[in-house]
């Protein structure tokens, strides 16, 4: 039987949104397939890769592991909300200028995860950054330039 669709009310990147979801949808599916926000990516759909990372009520989550129904009333920040109207976020600028992306599919997840890291720990050591970002997989870069970019932004 096809479950009844359900409306969830949420705030995404500052805008209130009502999303019509299937009760089986994850937050990732709700974002991508129901409202066409495809910044968060699916790499594994089971919490192993971090490509779908978003920030939910101030906490970093893998959106593939959050049920869409759970976000009722929550505030979500996705990669689409990282830049301001006029300017890229310093992490975005540094990733670009330091070639921290190759294929770029991991980049939205790394940006959200790095943003959350710097909120929590504005001046991480290399080791702290590597451990925090260990939940985000990148298969292209060997992590070198990603870690370097995050540390550069932290140093201001």
């Amino acid at each position: 039987m096809i479950p009844e669709p359900k409306v969830v009310n949420t705030i995404i990147n500052g805008d209130s949104k009502q999303i019509l979801v299937s009760e089986r949808d994850s937050l990732l599916e709700a974002l991508r397939d129901r409202i066409g926000m495809t910044g968060a990516k699916e790499g594994c759909n089971n919490g192993n890769c971090g490509a779908c990372a978003v920030i939910m009520d101030g906490r970093l989550v893998n959106s593939c592991c959050v049920m869409a129904a759970e976000v009722e009333g929550a505030e979500i920040m996705t990669v689409e909300g990282l830049a301001s109207r006029d300017e890229l976020h310093p992490l975005q600028t540094e990733f670009l200028d330091n070639a921290a992306l190759q294929c770029g599919i991991c980049t939205p997840g790394f940006l959200m995860s790095s943003y959350a890291l710097l909120q929590e720990n504005p001046d991480p050591t290399e080791e702290e950054a590597r451990f925090w970002l260990a939940g985000n997989l990148c298969r292209c870069t060997g992590y070198d330039k990603i870690i370097d970019s995050v540390l550069t932004v932290a140093k201001g």
Partner: protein, 773 residues
């Protein structure tokens, strides 16, 4: 950077932002699975629970009846869409006509079709059996559970050596060994899993070994590794009522995907248009097609566009891992380290259908060295594992791992520095490679010399269970067909239309080469990757050929534009084009006029006059260069082995590589760092685990475990630039070489650390503990 005779470039060697960068950091870039179309349906695939079985029957009626399901297909629907080869019917199989089109050792469209959706048999755990299109993914998955498949389970084989013994389970009863060398003994009249046998041979091997003071022979095996691209395979298709098939997909080669899809579906190539979306990694794994024909046929049946993407388990189960391998390498040397002979045998598992990368592996195996007497055999073996696909320098990591490991043992026994041993034998310009062709200018020696004088190699290492190792690696790079077109706009800006899919910065690197050719700025070039209807044929983005071949086409486009600019200036000045020069600064200069005034146009100025002198410039170029950008890299590692856990920690890593000319040094470095990380995964922990039923046991990122950020230190890269004489800017290609050396480099260092020689990769913690306990 060590540069030899490098011309002065203005753009090449700088580090501008890539044109697609902003979209990728803001989440706007459209990757394959991001496409949105009106009326879109979602697909899902039923996969085999068995490693090897006959399909007795498939009943899809209950799935078709489920509310929200629009179409269900099996192989019969695929081959029913008009293909040119014999369909997979019971009668055809029984009468034997089904097998007639099989050419030994050669991939056929039927094999491609049967890998996409199983024919009479499933050949590996996860082999696709049926597909569904429904209103959403969940409904499509529900429908899969309603498909009844009756299997007759057959004995299976997943190990290369097991598959070659008499009495092994046979995958394809009609398969006969294809022989690609004279003098190879095969019994071509019997059932076999040996799909092909190739041999390279030169000199007199017996005489060579007789002249040796020391001969070492060793056997090696390696597990299957997966490319592990972060973006799962995906495809969206719409088969219109007029017969046009539109496909949007993440592919390394839009033209290859188009042609292969047309072959499998048996439709004219021109009826298929492939739009390559942004691609989230490939490393060779996104060269074959999987979902494209399925999505197309589901669309035909449902009259709706259909989007499909694989879940991660399907990616591991059913898309190309690399080949598992068995190698035997014997090398003879004189007491001063000169190699007198080498004899190698490499067997690689192709998976369910023929076509492992053993051929490339064979050609790379001894490429770093000058060896007058050599024989190399390569065997392609079918197994009940997923059909292998290319993976970064396909075939080379396994074969060169075996050779570099034996070289390390020789150096130890001769009490020679391992770099010196390699320098004694290093291949140089004029030396014949294993295929008998003399090398052009190559940089193997320069790489070894740079390693030897590198501060890392000169530094002391100390500590318990700490060791250092080195090895070198080779890959061909380059060549094949590429096309582009360019249009000069009225303000001098240039639209550059590329046939090459951009995986990691090729829009930037090709634009830079066009800007350099024309003497214009990088910023005034607006590159874009386009669909298969809009540009000439372009081979895959792979083989480290894109910056090489794409740059060559850009150079040719630039030459044509220059000539056209000169002819327009000639028209305006009313003089002969022969009197006009196009300068390196991008200006067009003629002789002073009668009054002594300078005749000069900037590029942009002259662009403003194009419309009045015959129209804006639009040019296309295609080229197919058979030259290669042969390149070498040498790695140095310091590591520490934990005797309690068996875990190996990389302490310091340096890669020295001949990159020809570094077009965008940041991306060159990035390619090398990425290759190292994948190679470290192969060396230390990645591998496919099968249970005794041939089930893949670790089809998730958690269990397959690619290296993560805290598994690695910073990765130092030293670029040596020995320009490739076969390229206008000396480009060699970069991305593949760095995955070759890590396995032997780390193996040799593990020996230095704990005194244990490994003959299998990965050297996972469990295997290390087994050796230590």
């Amino acid at each position: 950077m060590v540069a030899t005779e490098k011309p002065q470039y203005k753009i090449i060697g700088t580090r501008p932002r890539r044109p697609d960068g902003v979209d990728k950091v803001t989440g706007r870039a459209q990757y394959g699975a991001d496409i949105k179309l009106e009326g879109l349906l979602y697909g899902a695939v039923l996969r085999s629970p068995h490693a090897h079985a006959l399909i007795k029957s498939i009943d899809t009626s209950k799935a078709e009846a489920l509310n929200g399901v629009h179409a269900v297909i099996t192989n019969a629907d695929l081959v029913g869409s008009g293909q040119t080869f014999q369909p997979t019917t019971a009668e055809a199989i029984e009468s034997g006509t089904y097998w007639q089109a099989l050419e030994p050792g050669k991939a056929s469209p039927r094999w491609a079709a049967e890998n996409i959706l199983a024919g009479p048999k499933v050949l590996y755990h996860g082999h696709a059996v049926a597909a569904v299109a429904a209103d959403d993914v969940h409904i499509a998955q529900d429908a899969l559970e309603l498909i009844d498949v009756e299997y007759e389970i057959l004995p299976h084989v997943v190990d290369v050596q097991d598959a070659m013994v008499d009495g092994a389970p046979i995958l394809h009863p009609q398969l006969r060994t294809g022989v690609r060398a004279a003098g190879v003994d095969t019994r071509s009249d019997i059932e076999t899993n040996l799909a092909s046998h190739m041999r390279l041979e030169s000199g007199d091997i017996e005489k060579g070994f007789a002249a040796a003071d020391l001969t070492i022979e060793r056997e090696f095996t390696s597990s299957q590794f997966h490319q592990g691209y972060l973006e799962p395979q995906n495809a969206t298709a719409f088969w219109s009522h007029d017969g046009r098939i539109n496909i949007w997909t993440s592919t390394q080669g839009s033209f290859m995907a188009r042609d292969a899809t047309a072959d499998v579906l048996g439709v004219p190539v021109a009826s298929v248009k492939v739009t390559p979306m942004e691609i989230g990694g490939g490393f060779g794994g996104k060269i074959p097609i999987y979902l494209e024909p399925m999505a197309a046929v589901l669309s035909k049946k449902s009259s709706r566009p259909v989007k499909m993407w694989m879940d991660r388990e399907a990616v591991f189960q059913a898309t190309g891992p690399t080949a598992s391998s068995y190698s035997k390498v014997k090398i003879g040397v004189t007491n001063d380290g000169k190699i007198t002979a080498a004899e190698c045998l490499f067997a690689m598992g192709a998976g369910g259908f023929p076509g492992s990368p053993v051929g490339a592996g064979v050609q790379c195996a001894l490429a770093p060295y000058k060896i007058d007497n050599q024989v190399i055999d390569g065997l392609d073996v079918v197994l009940n594992t997923p059909k292998t696909a290319a993976y970064r320098a396909p075939g080379a990591p396994a074969t060169e791992y075996a050779v570099e490991s034996v070289m390390d043992e020789i150096a130890e026994q001769l009490d020679m520095d391992p770099i010196d041993l390699r320098l004694v034998n290093v291949a140089e310009e004029g030396v014949r490679n294993s295929s008998g062709t003399p090398w052009p200018k190559i940089g193997a020696k320069e790489v070894l010399e740079a390693m030897k004088s590198h501060p890392h190699y000169l530094s002391e290492i100390q500590g318990e269970d700490v060791g250092r190792g080195i090895a070198i690696g080779f890959w061909f790079n380059g060549g094949m067909e590429s096309s582009s077109s360019a249009r000069v706009n009225k303000d001098g800006s240039i639209a550059l239309i590329l046939g090459s899919v951009d995986i990691g910065g090729s829009r930037a690197s090709i634009s830079m080469q066009l800007a350099e050719t024309l003497g214009v700025t990088y910023e005034q070039i607006a590159p874009q990757v386009t669909d298969t209807d809009s540009v000439g044929y372009t081979a895959v983005t792979g083989g480290s050929r894109t910056t090489f071949a794409g740059g060559w086409v850009a150079y040719e486009l630039g030459q044509t534009i220059k000539a056209e600019m000169i002819s327009r200036a000639a028209k305006i000045w009313d003089i002969s084009g022969d009197e006009i020069t196009y300068t390196d600064e991008g200006t067009v200069v003629g002789p002073d006029d009668a009054e002594g005034n300078k005749r000069v146009f900037s590029f942009n100025e002259l662009a403003g006059k194009l419309q009045a002198t015959g129209g804006l410039i639009a040019v296309s170029a295609s080229s197919s260069h058979t030259t290669q950008g042969a390149a070498y890299g040498g790695h140095i590692v310091d590591l520490k082995v934990d005797r309690d856990t068996g875990k190996t920690e990389i302490l310091r890593y340096t890669a020295v590589q001949d990159v020809g000319t570094a077009i965008h040094p940041d991306y060159v470095e990035g390619q090398i760092q990425g290759g190292i990380a994948q190679g470290v995964g192969m060396a230390l922990n990645e591998e496919y685990y099968y249970d005794s039923d041939g089930h893949l046991m670790n089809g998730s990122f958690l269990d397959y475990r690619v290296p993560v950020a805290n598994d690695l230190p910073m990765l130092d890269v030293e670029m040596v630039e020995v320009p490739n004489p076969g390229h206008p800017f000396g480009v060699r290609g970069v991305g593949e070489v760095p995955i070759v050396p890590p396995q032997p480099t780390i193996r040799n260092a593990v020996y230095d650390a704990i005194g244990v020689r490994f003959y299998h990769t990965p050297m996972s913690p469990r295997r290390v503990l087994d050796e230590l306990l």
